[in-house]
């Protein structure tokens, strides 16, 4: 599905990524974890064409998409949910979802129904301005908006940042649901332990490079990873 190799790049001349590789196969959930400033979000943005790559190559379904801008990537089946400012606050929930379908020329009614099925809470608030919603509901709007193009690959930048544990669990469940419907997912998470539990594979980043690449379960079991990135030893995990 997605293959990014040897990514080097960053903002305005200062490199943040130093030869990073990321790979997502069909129908996989891939999680990127790492300490603050390791370049997790930057890697995501570089893949989505928001941060320029100086070197390296990104391919989607075998086609070169290195440094392609978002408006070319969305029609190719990629969608991205930024970490913050990921909704249009003055638009209603319904309009937010419609904007997600902006590039679609066909009737997106069935997709809209499916998004409302996935997030029943949004159905109730469809006429409300998205900016008036709670943090968890906003996240659902952002998530739903990204699903409106029926993407093959969904990029989620810290989907649970700032949410209560209860809501967080709900979001993770939705991620699994979406994945089961056939969407590959690449996400960056602070909440590493929880994320790795649902991940097929995980990448541990440090200073813009790959530190560990393994299955989610093996990374959870890895004592070094546990100590540095999962907040202490927990061999039982």
């Amino acid at each position: 599905m997605l293959s990014a190799t040897g990514m080097i790049g960053g903002y305005g001349g200062a490199d943040i990524l130093h030869g990073l590789d990321v790979e997502v196969s069909e129908k996989e959930i891939v999680v990127i974890i790492g300490s603050n400033g390791a370049g997790k979000s930057t890697a995501m943005k570089a893949i989505f064409g928001l941060v320029p790559l100086r070197e390296g190559r990104v391919t989607l379904k075998g086609e070169d998409i290195t440094n392609a801008p978002p408006d070319e990537l969305v029609p190719r089946g990629m969608a991205y949910v930024p970490q913050e400012r990921n909704i249009f606050p003055s638009l209603t929930v319904h309009e937010n979802l419609e904007m997600g379908a902006y590039i679609r020329q066909d009737n997106f009614g069935p997709v809209l129904d499916r998004v409302y099925d996935l997030f029943p809470a949004l159905q109730e608030k469809r006429k409300q301005a998205a900016g008036e919603l709670s943090g968890g509901q906003r996240q659902m709007v952002a998530f739903g908006r990204a699903l409106m193009t029926e993407p093959d690959l969904l990029l989620l930048d810290e989907p649970t940042a700032g949410l209560s544990p209860l809501v967080m669990g709900e979001i993770f469940e939705k991620i699994i649901d979406v994945n089961k419907s056939g969407v590959s997912i690449l996400m960056v998470e602070q909440n590493a332990r929880h994320a790795l539990q649902i991940a097929d594979r995980g990448y541990v980043l440090a200073t813009g490079q790959n530190l560990y690449i393994d299955t989610g379960a093996s990374l959870l079991a890895n004592p070094e990873v546990a100590e540095s990135f999962l907040g202490g030893k927990r061999a039982d995990a």
Binding site: P70, G100, Y102, I103
Partner: protein
């Protein structure tokens, strides 16, 4: 009391409508392109003068033809019909190219130029056919009718002009700091005004020379001039159309989305250049209409739009930059305050504020708003 309504309240509403039409453009452009468009007043001027030029063109053919002592060369007639045929050529081009205005490619430009000249011939011929009508001494074209007839043409030309200006002067700076765009728009304002002065001179002109508007006395003792009814009617229709655009259409919703968060709009896959194009179409179209309506009520002169800039900005800021509905309210409030301040309010025989100072009201409101409530009445963006 009647004096207040007939001579102050109605003109206040008329002025308010014109301010509102201009302020909507300022507000939309500010929230979507992130810069204060200083050339907006001069876009109004351009609209007013395009309409003026077109009326001259039609009169040149119809009336000069009717007078046996006057001869107008065919070339002069052809040139006078070029603006009309240019609009028709643009509309035909849009129809052929389903996607609307595209980039200015060589072939499109050639199509427009050839189409324009080709269409001018049948137009001259059609107007020549009307000559027998004009020869009749009782035949007179109503001043309002003439203006309203050329209005759609003037709007299309002004919109196209704004698109060209955007392409030449604003697009190259799209990713620069906003102040660069502001300065660029200041330059554009000077260019537009100079163009008008070059082609039409610096004198005051009028759409209806020697024509005295008699007030309609429908609801005596209320007196309202016919053109004021057109101005109200047109403004109300345009406001409803704008509301429909912003809340019901995909393009309008995308405009609101981009004004909320341009980065997110881009990430969502919204074609932001297309949204920018529609912003210019709406903003410049409304500005051109505001200019023509102002020209119906006041002299047509090269500084007419520039003089409007301050009250229009005051209206947009009062309503909250980025809030088109706020801009409408702001326009009506500023227009109302300016006109009503010159009433005596039964305090003395003198106006409350001398007429020469009424612009200061707009300035005062703007300063007070920027100090105490920079987001405006309707929660806009902070300047």
């Amino acid at each position: 009391m009647l004096e207040l309504i007939n001579f102050y309240l109605i003109p206040a509403l008329v002025l308010g409508c014109i301010y509102a039409l201009g302020a909507i453009g300022i507000s939309l452009l500010y929230s979507i392109l992130r810069f204060a468009h200083f050339a907006h007043g001069d876009l109004m001027t351009i609209g007013a003068y395009i309409a003026f030029g077109m009326i001259l063109g039609v009169e040149l053919i119809v009336f000069a033809n009717a007078d046996p002592d006057v001869t107008v060369s065919f070339l002069a007639k052809l040139v006078s019909m070029l603006p009309f045929s240019l609009v028709l050529a643009i509309l035909a081009g849009m129809f052929l190219e389903k996607r609307g205005f595209g980039p200015f490619t060589y072939w499109r430009s050639l199509f427009t130029i050839v189409g324009t000249v080709a269409l001018a011939f049948p137009l001259v011929w059609a107007l020549d056919l009307m000559t027998p009508l004009a020869a009749d001494e009782d035949f007179e074209l109503d001043a309002e009718f003439k203006v309203l007839a050329v209005l759609p043409f003037a709007v299309v030309l002004a919109v196209y002009m704004a698109r060209l200006l955007d392409r030449l002067f604003y697009k190259p700076f799209r990713s620069s700091k906003p102040i660069i765009m502001v300065i660029a728009s200041f330059g554009v304002a000077l260019i537009l005004r100079s163009l008008v002065q070059m082609f039409f001179g610096v004198e005051d002109e009028s759409y209806a020379v020697g024509y005295i508007a008699r007030p309609l006395e429908i609801f005596l003792p209320l007196r309202i001039i016919e053109r004021h009814l057109y101005i109200f009617g047109m403004t109300v229709i345009l406001m409803l159309a704008l509301h429909y655009l912003l809340t019901r259409t995909r393009t309008g919703k995308a405009m609101r989305a981009m004004s909320d968060d341009a980065d997110l709009a881009r990430v969502t896959g919204i074609n932001t250049e297309q949204v920018v194009m529609w912003t210019w179409i709406v903003g410049a179209g409304l500005a051109a209409i505001a200019g023509v309506l102002l020209g119906m009520d006041a002299p047509v002169k090269p500084v007419m739009g520039w003089d409007m800039l301050l009250p229009i900005f005051a209206a947009a800021i009062l309503g909250g930059l980025g809030s088109p509905y706020g801009a409408i309210i702001g326009g009506l409030v500023i227009g109302g305050m300016e006109e009503l301040s010159t009433f005596h309010w039964w305090l003395s025989d003198e106006p409350l504020v001398p007429g020469a100072y009424k612009t200061a009201i707009a300035f005062g409101v703007m300063v007070i708003m920027l100090i105490f409530r920079p987001q405006g009445l309707f929660k806009g963006r902070v300047l």
